[in-house]
Symmetry: C2
Subunit: 245 residues, 2 copies
DNA sequence: CGGGTAATTGACCCGGGTCAACAGCAGTGG
DNA sequence: CCACTGCTGTTGACCCGGGTCAATTACCCG
């Protein structure tokens, strides 16, 4: 129900008090955004931390001549930089891709939660570190991989991230981004994304139609992408400890 | 003398107590690394936070077949992720480019400093947010810009970053990275970096020889790169306040 | 002076971009 | 119910920025 809770518990076990604190914080102020609307814009003063509850969004940056790079996808459970309030203005945009439901946390709510719940604080830090690690991996992806590898890599990553918040069904999941979005995220044109997806389909690695993704051969996809999931840091020992014990 | 202090004061004024706390933390355990040696390796357990004092280093990631992407440069005043201890293992390497002097902070030293000095903590948070913002900008750089633009952008960024720690002399600064390094950072081959640098020289934008960079036409370079410095967040109002007042 | 690393240059090639046409399909208004 | 509109996906023909390969020339340092 609460994807942030699910995600943080991939890192550490939380107490009942922790869990209900998260529920309270995330339940208080829920906003919705229509598909393709901006949730925050470059140049604005950061107003709130969003916790994604439903739908996909992205961070993106643009160049004066219109070129656009998606630098991150947001899926349920994701949240933007915790301490964003420190900054005077946003250096990037956040845009909804599908319709989005997101909880808005004010600076004081964040502060209170982290002061009263050290385990949550630690888990949120872990989450921040993973977010940066993902960003680094995207730099590697765009900088060194071929089109075929880039798209394979993106698919591997998103599938695993969705799985940790329980949004996969067996080998498939919703995948509501357009080929143009994939291009903007991988530094390719939508035309070439199309050709490359055709190849991936032809090689029996994935099936992608009607905003639905099915992984036909995960091992093969992983190999094609040279995907190494270590940067998602899903192997923390804390996951197996019980905070209630 | 202490580039971390200089850098944090680009964000906020520090008290005398703050300043000497930084000096103490950074003076305690200084290590040196030879040029081209790794300071930390992928797969290792994070042991310490390094604060760069002298020299250049980089974060880099490699693919199984040897392709290499530099995902960040470290110059004096930079430090790696504060809360790195939370993670079980490194997902990237840190390598010295030149000979490096760096202060090593253990987890308890970091904790003590942040507990006792809230202004430092805030400044360190600012620093972390800038670091991620830089990472995002690199993704944009590699994903959307042409070779000419990418290299111009890198030069603009590094020059400004060096300037905030007082390591520029007028329009020039040390620039001790090879053309291969520039290629690994921008997703280009060293051959093409060479050709592009020749062009930049030919256009009268920069001069680069003997590990020394001179900016001949900053406005032109900036325009060529479509460089927007907002992601470095150097404009914080706190810069003009005095914590001693 | 010798050996190794870094820079430079030329010839040639290819992955992915560009341009353009067209198909599929959802929504929407008459 | 259908025409219309607009977005997304698909495909082909052609081109170009940057890669590859290889040879040569500075450098730097012991």
């Amino acid at each position: 129900m609460n994807p942030l809770k699910t995600k943080l518990e991939a890192f550490t076990r939380l107490s009942e008090a922790d869990r209900s604190a998260i529920d309270r914080a995330v339940g208080r102020n829920v906003r919705t955004f229509a598909a393709r609307r901006d949730m925050a814009r470059e140049g604005e003063r950061p107003r709130a931390v969003y916790v994604m509850l439903e739908g996909w969004a992205c961070r993106y940056k643009t160049l004066p001549d219109g070129r656009r790079q998606i630098v991150a996808f947001f899926v349920p459970g994701d949240l933007c930089d915790l301490n964003i309030f420190i900054l005077k203005e946003m250096d990037h945009n956040v845009g909804a891709i599908t319709a989005v439901r997101a909880a808005e946390l004010g600076r004081h709510e964040v502060e209170r939660m982290t002061e009263e719940h050290p385990r949550i604080t630690r888990a949120l830090w872990w989450n921040e570190l993973v977010t940066v690690a993902v960003q680094r991996d995207w730099t590697l992806n765009v900088g060194q991989r071929s089109a075929y590898e880039r798209i394979s890599h993106l698919v591997c990553e998103m599938f695993l991230r969705l799985r940790t918040v329980g949004l996969t069904q067996g080998d498939s999941c919703d995948f509501p981004i357009t080929q143009t979005d994939i291009g903007d995220a991988t530094g390719l044109t939508s035309v070439h994304v199309n050709r490359t997806l055709k190849e991936l389909r032809g090689d029996g690695l994935i099936e992608l139609k009607g905003r639905r993704l099915t992984i036909l051969d995960f091992a093969g996809l992983r190999r094609a992408a040279m995907f190494n999931d270590n940067y998602l840091h899903l192997d923390h020992e804390g996951r197996h400890l019980d905070a209630n014990g």
